[in-house]
């Protein structure tokens, strides 16, 4: 009876270990790494902002992302917009978002991605951001992210 209990616990332990291994492997395979540009700071309509481009590397491809954040606290809805783009190493635009994303609600910042690009190669993310200036929008490029190989 005692031996049976030990065997049962051993099986449970092994099953837990295997599941943990599977989950960990899955996470590792799904998300490898990412690269980020330095922040670029600027001021529009009394608000200070910083923007950034990044590339998320997954096992199935690369996703360009662009963020803009107010460092002066929350901004009203529709004040900030982001547009992610992915370029190959030789400067060819390979992926771009359909449209700009603006903050739906009062927010401090937004961060959005385009689709995942699956072609092997070296790529940069170079995003665009917009901030409301009281009479339209001021468009600001991010710095380029470091090149990433996929």
């Amino acid at each position: 009876m005692k031996g049976c209990l030990v065997l049962k616990n051993y099986k449970l332990l092994m099953a837990t270990f295997l599941i943990a291994c599977l989950i960990t492997t899955n996470i590792t395979l799904t998300l490898f790494a990412d690269v980020e540009s330095p922040y670029k700071s600027f001021t529009v309509y009394g608000y200070s902002y910083k923007n950034q481009a990044s590339v998320m590397e997954y096992s199935f491809g690369l996703q360009p992302r662009t963020s803009i954040e107010s460092t002066s606290g929350s901004v009203p809805a529709g004040y900030i917009g982001a547009y992610p783009r992915l370029y190959s190493d030789d400067g060819v635009l390979v992926l771009a978002a359909t449209d700009w994303y603006y903050n739906d609600n009062t927010a401090v910042g937004i961060d959005c991605g385009a689709d995942v690009y699956e072609e092997p190669g070296a790529y940069y993310c170079y995003g665009l951001t917009r901030a409301y200036n009281g009479n339209g929008y001021t468009q600001q490029t991010t710095y380029r992210s470091p090149s990433i190989n996929y």
Partner: protein, 165 residues
């Protein structure tokens, strides 16, 4: 007869000389990387650096004539990776089409009209955000359609609601 022979010798000499000069030029171009010489490089901070002067390129010292070419209709075309602001982007942006064709998309086709105010921005977003768009891919003349470029919906959106600095 003698004159004909002399002409033939001259012709052979000219051909050999042309081959020698041509080979030298090709070798020079390859060894000096002239065929693929970049005017600008991107440093580790994501800034554009002039290869010749080592300067950081900003809107003030950006020279579009180095980065872009101009077509017969007066439109600039080239890579927008080397633009330093929205104002310095070319009219025709170098892009890869759906089938791998390299061509150009119009700046105005890609980024579309800018909203006038936050209300209009939100309204435009509600209409367009979940859509895939197919826009024409042109040759450098900006007129000949050579393919299609696909844009993708914005996804994995994170809105920071509170100050998380």
């Amino acid at each position: 007869m003698v004159k004909c022979k002399k002409t033939n010798v001259t012709m052979v000499f000219v051909i050999i000389l042309s081959i020698i000069i041509g080979s030298y030029n090709i070798n020079y171009a390859l060894s000096n990387n002239t065929l693929d010489k970049k005017a600008y490089i991107i440093n580790e901070k994501g800034q554009l650096i002039s290869v010749d002067t080592n300067e950081i390129i900003t809107e003030e010292n950006f020279d579009p004539t180095i980065v872009y070419q101009v077509n017969e209709n007066g439109q600039t075309y080239g890579s927008s990776l080397y633009a330093v602001s929205a104002e310095t982007e070319p009219d025709l942006i170098l892009a890869r089409g759906i089938d791998g064709t390299i061509g150009y998309v119009y700046y105005t086709d890609l980024y579309r009209e800018e909203p006038k105010n936050p209300e209009e921005a939100i309204a435009m977003q509600k209409i367009n955000s979940r859509k895939i768009r197919i826009i024409p891919l042109y040759a450098s003349d900006g007129k000949t359609v050579i393919g299609k470029f696909r844009t993708t919906p914005v996804q994995d959106i994170i809105e920071k609601r509170t100050d998380q600095r």
